[in-house]
């Protein structure tokens, strides 16, 4: 199968191309993608060349900011999981997981092993649902020469149906564990409001087993795509734990050897505002460099922590670690679906409902942080609470905010080789690169820092 590099029927905006800047006689060319397609949320891309040289590459994020951190202030700490879950319709569990772990750190409580496993199971449901959608309906069309899943479905209905079938089992897990599948409401600081019953979970085993086979087939399928030959020399960042593939536990590790706890996150990574985005961008404070989060970062660091089926599959398809080709993220994502289904089966087969669904606590003043692995990468939360159990301060840094500047850097690296192409082709290839990241723009715009200057 080939990656269509020159199809000209994409929906990218037709860019205005200017021959010269009358003020200085320097030739300029502007390429604009008005609205990125097949990404979550609203964003665009501006590229400007001056005298043939790349001048500006800006991932424009213009979705309105939503001020969630301000909304949290003064609210009872117990509300953080449900309020922050509303930041994203695609990955609400990730917000719930980071918020409960950060709150529990502030309160000094540690739920037991059974709650830890249930949380992993819930997270697996979200990974399966989110990754399956992206791999099959949003990203695969790029490699098969289609404008989108609709066009692909006309020729390959079975492939699209397979993605939907895999996704469905993830949704079922969310429904059983989350109390309801639509924005789960069963997650609590300290554990769960109710222990999920064993029967609905065990009844899901045959469906999960079928989904596992489908996910294996899908991974072999995407591994056969033609990928552009790209090596981006990423600085990758993800959680690492010696015993488990990263979800909720572990230290934050970088590919150049730095290892920290979440308490040091804001010392190692800094957010900055840029004029063209309503979302903050992030860089390393020690190197000033961008960094990559998400499936590729996780597989590169944690390949040995994949469960056996996923690990053997990585070997079988000839996965080379480390992989620094963003286009191969679709394979990493597919391997993670296999892992998530395999881990779900493992947890369900051993599951016994915990006697007490959550650890009780007394509010106390304190501060706590946590980072967990959302489908798109590391999601950081930090809270300060007072003696009355009210939130005094909240800081939330989603993965797409952190990946933004890395996306711009990738675009800068790839653009020089394609500048002889038409504007439409350049725009279309840039969109394909951006889609590799599965960006969630709605998450990234949850916050805007407002500086008020008084005279």
């Amino acid at each position: 199968m080939t990656a269509p590099e020159d199809s000209s029927s994409r929906s990218s905006g037709q860019p205005p191309t200017g021959p010269a800047d009358p003020r200085d006689g320097i030739a300029t060319r502007t390429i604009r993608v008005e609205n990125l397609t097949r990404v979550e949320g609203e964003g665009g891309l501006d590229i400007r060349l001056r005298d043939g040289q790349l001048d500006v590459v800006e991932l424009r994020i213009f979705e309105p900011p939503r001020f969630f951190e301000a909304m949290l202030r003064g609210r009872p700490l117990e509300e953080a999981p449900d309020i922050t879950a509303r930041i994203c319709g695609i990955c609400p569990v990730a917000y719930q997981m980071s918020s409960v772990h950060a709150m529990e750190a502030a309160l000094g409580i540690t739920p037991g092993e059974s709650i830890r496993l249930l949380r992993r199971l819930l997270y697996c449901g979200e990974w399966i649902e989110s990754h399956a959608l992206h791999v099959h309906l949003l990203h695969a069309p790029d490699f098969l020469g289609y404008d989108g899943s609709l066009e692909m479905a006309r020729d390959f209905p079975d492939l699209v149906t397979r993605g939907l079938q895999i996704r469905k089992v993830g949704n079922r897990l969310l429904e059983i564990l989350g109390g309801r599948a639509v924005h789960p409401i069963n997650v609590a600081v300290g554990g769960f409001f109710q222990s999920p019953r064993r029967q609905p979970l065990t009844e899901l085993i045959p469906e999960l087993e079928r989904a596992l086979q489908l996910a294996i087939d899908a991974t072999r399928w995407v591994a056969g795509f033609d990928f552009p030959d790209v090596d981006s020399a990423y600085d990758t960042v993800c959680l690492f734990h010696p015993d488990d593939y990263p979800l909720c536990e572990g230290r934050i590790e970088t590919s150049d050897g730095v290892s920290i706890t979440s308490d040091d996150f804001e010392a190692l990574f800094v957010e900055r505002q840029v004029p063209h985005s309503t979302a903050m961008q992030a860089i390393r404070s020690d190197t000033g460099e961008t960094y990559l989060l998400g499936p590729l970062a996780r597989i590169n660091r944690c390949r040995e922590q994949l469960l056996p089926t996923a690990r053997r599959l990585a070997d079988e398809i000839g996965w080379v670690t480390p992989c620094n080709n963003p286009f191969r993220m679709i394979i990493a994502r597919s391997l993670e679906i296999v892992h998530a289904i395999e881990e779900s089966l493992q947890i369900i087969r051993r599951y016994q409902p915990p006697k007490t669904p959550r650890v009780r606590f007394q509010p106390r003043a304190g501060s706590g942080s946590a980072a967990t692995e959302a489908p798109r990468g590391l999601l950081y939360h930090r809270y300060t609470v007072n003696d009355a159990g009210e939130i005094e301060h909240a800081n939330i840094i989603p993965p797409t905010s952190q990946n933004q500047s890395q996306i711009e850097r990738d675009l800068r690296a790839l653009l020089p080789a394609m500048l002889t192409e038409s504007d439409t082709v350049v725009a279309e290839r840039c969109e394909k690169l951006i889609r590799c990241y599965d960006p969630c723009i709605s998450c990234s715009t949850h916050f805007l820092k407002v500086n008020l200057e008084r005279g």
Binding site: R86, L137, R180
Partner: protein, 178 residues
């Protein structure tokens, strides 16, 4: 994704509320919830729920509706959209109708309602009759829930009640002629 309080089993008519917990985008869910809660003791209100009758679900993104089409003879979808107002104005469209594609349904999540219905049609999943109920939330909807109670504006609330009434009447009429 199904609301666990409603039946998702075998049915002939499926009513799907599309939405989220975000402000006015909850309108589709609210209609679904209120339809599910209609008092079965009141003859004029009662819907023929369950097997062989009506089933009601809520989904967070339009693509999720593809999970609930097996064996369905008629699909009814209710979703909020950003329009010119006034908030609460109710529209009824029969699929396929150009207005569905041109309407900006609230929420930008991945695949639009029109795209999801087209995809379902491509995969041969769509029943013969598809009705889309659109609730206009006006040009500037409330996207974030208020910190206290999740309430709709008075005009939008009126529209939601009208939607419940009209959809219930249509479903009851269908049941009588089925």
């Amino acid at each position: 994704m199904a609301d666990s309080r409603t039946s998702t089993g075998s049915c002939r008519v499926r009513l799907i509320g599309v939405g989220s917990p975000h402000g006015d985008d909850r309108a589709g869910w609210s209609v679904a919830e209120r339809l599910a809660e209609l008092d079965p003791q009141k003859k004029e209100e009662a819907l023929p729920m369950g097997r062989g009758g009506v089933s009601i679900v809520s989904v967070a993104t339009p693509i999720d509706l593809l999970e609930y089409l097996d064996g369905v003879e008629q699909l009814q979808v209710c979703d909020a959209f950003v329009g010119d107002g006034p908030a609460g104005r109710l529209y009824r469209w029969l699929w396929p109708e150009a207005a569905i594609e041109q309407t900006r349904f609230v929420g930008s999540h991945d695949i639009s309602l029109a795209a999801a219905l087209q995809l379902a049609e491509s995969l041969g999943l769509l029943p013969a009759q598809v009705v889309v109920w659109g609730i206009d939330v006006g040009p500037s909807p409330c996207c974030v829930p208020p910190a206290s109670a999740d309430r709709f504006s008075t005009t939008l609330e009126t529209g939601i009640r009208a939607a419940v009434q009209q959809i219930a009447a249509e479903l009851s009429q269908w049941a009588r002629h089925a």
